[in-house]
C-alpha cells in the first residue's frame, strides 16, 4: 500500500482533477473526486500521526477503520479530531465549519460515496452550487479542510 507521501500526492492530484471537472461543468464527478481527495488526505494523515511507513493493507473483515471510506472513521485514526471538533477553545472554528459543510453532503445517502458513480439519484443531487460550495470547503477557503491540515503540518 502507498506511503503517507504517496497518498498526499494522490490527494493533491484528485483535488486538481476535481477543479478541472468543475471548470468543465461536470459537477457530479467533481464531487466524487473531491470526496476521494479527502479520503486520501485522511489516510495520508493517518500515516503521519501513527508513524506508519505505509497505509495498512488489510484483509481483516473486522477492520472497519483503516479499510473504510467513512470520513468519521478515517478522521478518528487520522489524529485530526483536535482540529475538526467543538472543543473549547477551538483550534480553528472556520475549519470545523468547513468540515461540516463538506461531510454533510455525504451524511444521508444510503451508500458510501465510492458507489455514487453508479447511482443517478445520488449524482443528481450535486449541481453547480453544491459542487462549488464543497470545493470551497475542501480547498479554496483559507481555512478549508486541506489547507488547515497543511497549516498545522499534519501531513
Amino acid at each position: 500500500m502507498a506511503s503517507g507521501t504517496e497518498l498526499k500526492n494522490l490527494s493533491d492530484k484528485r483535488r486538481v482533477t476535481a477543479k478541472n471537472l468543475i471548470d468543465a461543468e461536470d459537477w457530479e464527478m467533481a464531487v466524487y473526486m473531491m470526496a476521494m481527495s479527502l479520503e486520501l488526505a485522511l489516510k495520508a494523515t493517518s500515516c503521519y500521526a501513527l508513524k506508519l511507513e505505509a497505509y495498512p493493507e488489510t484483509n481483516d473483515p473486522n477492520d472497519k477503520y483503516f479499510k473504510s471510506h467513512n470520513f468519521d472513521r478515517l478522521l478518528r485514526v487520522s489524529g485530526l479530531t483536535d482540529i475538526f471538533s467543538v472543543r473549547n477553545p477551538m483550534i480553528n472554528q472556520d475549519a470545523f465549519y468547513n468540515w461540516g459543510i463538506f461531510t454533510k453532503a455525504f451524511l444521508f445517502p444510503d451508500k458510501d460515496y465510492v458507489e455514487m458513480r453508479y447511482d443517478p439519484r445520488m449524482l443528481a443531487s450535486f449541481n453547480k452550487d453544491r459542487a462549488c460550495e464543497l470545493y470551497k470547503a475542501l480547498y479554496e477557503d483559507k481555512n478549508s479542510i486541506l489547507k488547515t491540515m497543511t497549516r498545522y503540518t499534519r501531513w
Binding site: N70, R87, M90, T103
Partner: protein, 133 residues
C-alpha cells in the same frame, strides 16, 4: 453520552440569542454504528448564504456555554438544512418532537443508529409559506 435536557437548554439559548426566531428542526443523530459521534441537524428558515457563518458561530458559542467538554467532544459536525430540503420533510413525516430514536431508523435510505429530535416545528415552515418566503 447525549443528555437531551442539555440540548434543550442549548436550543432555548440559541433561539433567545437569535431574536426568538423559530427553529424548524433541531436534532442530534448518531449516523455511524462504530463512531460514537453525533451530528447536529439544524433547520431554520431565516438562514441564507449571507448569515450562515454568523449562525454557525452563534450555535457554537451556545454549545460551548451549555455543554461539558465531554459532550462537546462527541459532536461530529453541525449540518444546516433549508426547511424546503427533502430531508427535513422526511423528518416531519417520520418523527415527532421529543422522540428518542433508539433503534436503527431509515431516513432517505440511510440508517440513523440513535437520535434525539429536540425540536420539530411544522409551524416554522407554515409561517415561512404565509410570508411568501
Amino acid at each position: 453520552m447525549v443528555i437531551p435536557e442539555n440540548y434543550k437548554k442549548v436550543l432555548k439559548h440559541f433561539v433567545e440569542k437569535n431574536s426568538n426566531q423559530e427553529v424548524a428542526l433541531f436534532a442530534i443523530l448518531k449516523m455511524d454504528e462504530l463512531v460514537d459521534k453525533w451530528s447536529i441537524i439544524l433547520s431554520v428558515n431565516w438562514i441564507d448564504s449571507n448569515n450562515q457563518r454568523e449562525i454557525f458561530t452563534s450555535i457554537i458559542n451556545t454549545l460551548q456555554e451549555d455543554l461539558s467538554p465531554e459532550e462537546l467532544n462527541e459532536i461530529a459536525r453541525i449540518a444546516f438544512y433549508n426547511p424546503d430540503d427533502n430531508l427535513v420533510k422526511l423528518f416531519f413525516e417520520k418523527f415527532e418532537e421529543g422522540q428518542y430514536i433508539k433503534e436503527d431508523a431509515k431516513v432517505n435510505g440511510n440508517i440513523v443508529h440513535e437520535g434525539y429530535i429536540i425540536s420539530l416545528n411544522k409551524g416554522a415552515i407554515a409561517n415561512q409559506a404565509s410570508l411568501g418566503l
